[in-house]
Amino acid sequence: MAPERVFGITAAMLLAALASFLAVLPEPARAQNIIDEWASVKAPPAPEPKAVTVDAKTTALLMLDFINPSCNEQRNPRCVATLPAAKKLLDAARANSMLVVYTAWGKNTAKDTRPEVAPNGSEPFVVSFLNKYIGTDLEKILKDKGIQTVIIAGTFAHGAVLMTASDSALRGFKVVVPVDAMSSPTPYGEKVAAWELANGPIIAPNIALTTSDMIKY
């Protein structure tokens, strides 16, 4: 039986014409972007903190922005909650004669540091916004003392901690980040930092995610 014709055109001819039309359409570059896909994104499993042993002679503790404007009950209570872990790191560092470096941003000074983890007066202090190497002599301070590993504690996890830890790894340092001593005003900020530090391209092999009680000196 001959195919049914409409105005002399068969269904097969129509299909062939449609196929050739579709063939010349540009392939859709990217149907969606991350904003369109936002709700469908699944978080991967949590990274696993690992036990770490550091050499006190070549390791420094970086205490990032434990200053009152960044670390207070109103704006960032999760930072206040990290102070016992940060104090534990600080006590261990001082007991092992390790280099301790403090930071702040803006016009804040060492005197603005939370009293629970206050500097002792002889410990270096640098001022910069997020990446504490930008516009400071932090790298020189560390390298002049033969530092090869930095333990990083502080706030915000998705700001100063993430940027300084990443840049430390890029500058050749081994990096240790205890998750119980970093904080952001929201837990999502901490989640961002933890995952990126444990999985970020290039940097991850030089970063150890741990907790303050999993570090041995």
Partner: protein, 213 residues
């Protein structure tokens, strides 16, 4: 009459014990809390008008090892919109700067978005300002704004865009011009760029067809 205070004493003891138990500084860290922490709402994309005279386009790591169908197909998918952006930039005589890492050279840039001979190429890992003259290249040309596209979103884009913001540049990030091997990395990258202190105030998240020149 003698009062039996033992129930009261027991109750006070229980309350005291509860207070002590409630006191630990932080019951959990982010790893413990992981499963309960959900992504916040998506940031809003904004229309952007670009001043071609003071704006540069940074084309980050469109090189084979970083941008290929096997390990990073989202990067391959970004090439078409990025090419459109590149054509606009060149059409408006904007500065275009390419980057690579390791031993990659300008000639390794993928052909759909290949570099012109006159366009600068810098080498760097993640933060393209570190150990390169990128900042000088930009400032010598009077650049105040950088459009940052490339891969990986959570590597070169995050490191370079955040540093640009800290160095004082205004940063434009079109979400359809950045990519990572997995969606999660793209998601937290755009969140961090729009929420991290200091950086967020200098970063505008957009998409390529929301940009006017």
């Amino acid at each position: 009459m003698k009062l039996d205070l033992s129930p009261l004493i027991a109750a006070i003891g229980m309350i005291a014990a509860a207070i002590v138990i409630a006191a630990p500084a932080r019951a959990a860290d982010i790893v413990d809390e992981w499963a309960s922490v959900k992504a916040p709402p998506a940031p809003e994309l904004k229309a952007v008008t670009v001043d071609p005279k003071t704006t540069a386009l940074l084309m980050l790591d469109f090189v084979p090892k970083a941008c290929n169908a096997e390990h990073n197909p989202r990067c391959i998918a970004s090439l078409t919109p990025v090419k459109k952006l590149l054509d606009e930039a060149r059409g408006h005589a904007m500065l275009v700067v390419y980057s690579g890492y390791g031993k990659f050279t300008k000639n390794d840039v993928l052909s759909p978005v290949a570099a012109n001979e006159s366009e600068p190429f810098v080498l760097g890992i993640l933060n393209k300002y570190l150990h390169s003259d990128l900042e000088k290249i930009l400032k010598d040309k009077g650049i105040q704004n950088v459009i940052t596209v490339g891969t990986a979103a959570n590597g070169a884009v995050l490191g370079t865009a955040s540093t640009a913001a800290e160095l004082g540049f205004n940063v434009i990030v079109p979400v359809d011009g950045i990519s990572a091997p997995d969606l999660y990395a793209e998601q937290y990258t755009v969140w961090d760029l729009t929420h991290a202190p200091v950086i967020a105030s200098r970063v505008t998240l957009t998409k390529i067809d929301m940009m006017k020149f």
